[in-house]
Amino acid sequence: MKIQDTIRRAGRSLRQAKARTLLTSLAIGVGAFTITLAFAAGAGGRAYAEDIVSSNTNVREIYVQPKQDAQNDPSKPKEYSEDPTISFGGGFTAKLMKQSDIDKIAKIDGVESTTPQYTVTIKYVTRSGQKKYTANVESFNASVKQEYAAGNSNNLTKDQVIIPDSFREALGFASANDAIGQTIQIVADKGGMAMPESQSFDYKIAGVVKPSALAVSASSGILLHKDAALELYNYTQQGTPLFGNYYGVLVTAKENVDVKDLKERINSQGSYDAQTAEDLMSFIFQFINVLQGILLGFGALAVLTSIFGIINTQYISVLERTQQIGLMKALGMRRRDVGRLFRYEAAWVGFLGGVIGSGLAIGAGFIGNPLISDALNLGKTHLLIFDPLTVTAVILGLMLVSVGAGMLPARKAAKLDPIEALRTE
């Protein structure tokens, strides 16, 4: 018997028991719905996370720290080392990057630039007639996408500053446009002094950054030109023992250089621990994958339940159609073809369930996406992304599962003795 004839006959048998077919496929449809949604949420979540990563970090950047000693047991005395370290108390220490390390890394093939990482510790930020506020000061990084309420970062100079919208409000500007061109003061302590000595630095506001749904932290700090930040750092750190040593260094790869390869090259140059932007953000992906896994688990459970439904339905179908099977075998239909007929019926059920389930899931995504984006303030970002390939794979997978479930009833049908079957009246 030809395959297409078998498929046609299988489909026709199912149409003759519409309610039963529909109910059985709905069971598998619940699984399809959950699995499709799980994949959509996973894909959407990963795309969203990638957006976050690319808006907060530059994918061409590698963060390099010195490799910390494996033997870092605080209960044992530690041998002294000339390398700069900072200690956190309780015996915990962290090694620092020396300028010589940074110079060495800068020479590695594929490195475009190196930026030492430091924190600028300021006393407060203020403006005449306003309160004083503590703030994080970071050096401006053009590769981090920012959305501006007013002004911009083009041609940022040493005496300019970019502030988040929250500081704009705190510092008493009525609107973002009012703040542009105004002056604020940053006051810092001079380092290495026996007696505290402070200085105030003036900066003009070049831009006000909007709070962004995608940003993790980029918009929470005050951004200064790289040189201005260094100047502040030097002012606060010069004369302290750790001056010139850094927590780490940000390496920017040249364009068209594979970041992962460069990471390996840096690690092979010495005792360094290099991490790409992707490594740093991998926790987000891990979290998304765990969530997706949990959803998939529920879907798999639903599919498992529906397997028993299919087996049951198909067994009943074989019993009901004993005569028909007997006749087909009497007319010379082969065992293999009889088994195939019932397996294809099961495949049809799986197909139907898969289409119904994933169709409903896509419908739910169509309705749900704008609602979710609204509720979470994501703008145009959609959290459910349906990949046609994944949906097809889900449907095909469920068809396979159904065929597996239909195996036992199909075997029973194939083994029927035609004489016995035709005696059934």
Binding site: M1, K2, D5, R9, R12, Q16, Q323, Q324, G326, L327, M328, K329, A330, L331, G332, M333, R334, R335, D337, P418, I419, L422, E425
Partner: protein, 240 residues
């Protein structure tokens, strides 16, 4: 030619054995119409099953076209049945939910007849049993006589060389039964195929060339009522 040689079929095990066929032998020439007569339980249906390869007796040979179908592999027997034989049953066994067209299409699908050829074959056969106008009707909407005519169409659509009919008129009144009988004998005569009818109706048996009487699994007698006395050779003989 169908040769049945020493076929014995027993059911059950050890003490409870029941011999349904006991050393049955006979020969049927091509193109003959044969009635297998006997009371219920005499073994006539078992004999038909053995002759068609549906049942496989342990002892004996059934030779059709020179091949012993009892020694064939299941696959070959199936192929043999789908191309050379066909069946008609007392209770029709038409698929009630399917259209007449699809019912008749089944043996062609099983025999792997190319899709393009089927329509013509099916329509020709439906016309022969006068059901062409019911082509698209579901089989459940047909009367008893129409259902058996549909079964005849399904049986003859693939031009079998041997047609087995198990009480073909048993569920029909005499008028509709006669129509079905005419169709069966018409096919038998016009194509030169062999017709084997299992029945306990003497009137139907009278229309056949050869009558094989079965009793308790043994051949009681073989008669040829219409045989001309000057026939060159006996069409059939009882082999002991």
């Amino acid at each position: 030619m169908i040769e049945v040689r020493g076929v014995t079929k027993t059911y059950g095990k050890k003490q409870n054995t029941f011999t349904a066929l006991d050393n049955v032998s006979f020969t049927i020439p091509d193109g003959a119409s044969v009635a297998i007569l006997g009371k219920s339980g005499s073994g006539k249906s078992t004999l038909m099953h053995a002759m068609s390869g549906l049942d496989r007796p342990e002892v004996g040979e059934v030779i059709i076209d020179g091949k012993n179908i009892l020694k064939m592999k299941q696959k070959e027997v199936d192929a043999f049945r789908s191309t050379k034989m066909s069946f008609i049953f007392q209770s029709f066994f038409v698929q009630a939910n399917e259209s007449c067209f699809d019912n008749v299409s089944l043996p062609l699908e099983i025999a792997d007849v190319p899709f393009g050829k089927r329509r013509e074959m099916i329509e020709k056969t439906l016309a022969a049993v006068e059901l062409l106008d019911k082509k698209k009707s579901r089989a459940r909407d047909l009367s008893g006589g129409q259902k058996q005519r549909l079964a005849v169409a399904r049986a003859i659509v693939n031009n079998p060389r041997v047609l087995f009919a198990d009480e073909p008129t048993g569920n029909l009144d005499s008028a509709t039964g006669e129509v079905v009988e005419d169709l069966l004998f018409g096919y038998n005569k016009s194509t030169g195929s062999t017709l084997v009818i299992v029945t306990h109706d003497p009137e139907l048996a009278d229309k056949c060339d050869i009558r094989i009487h079965i009793k308790d699994g043994k051949i009681e007698s073989i008669t040829e009522p219409h045989k001309k006395t000057d026939a060159p050779r006996p069409a059939v003989r009882k082999i002991q």
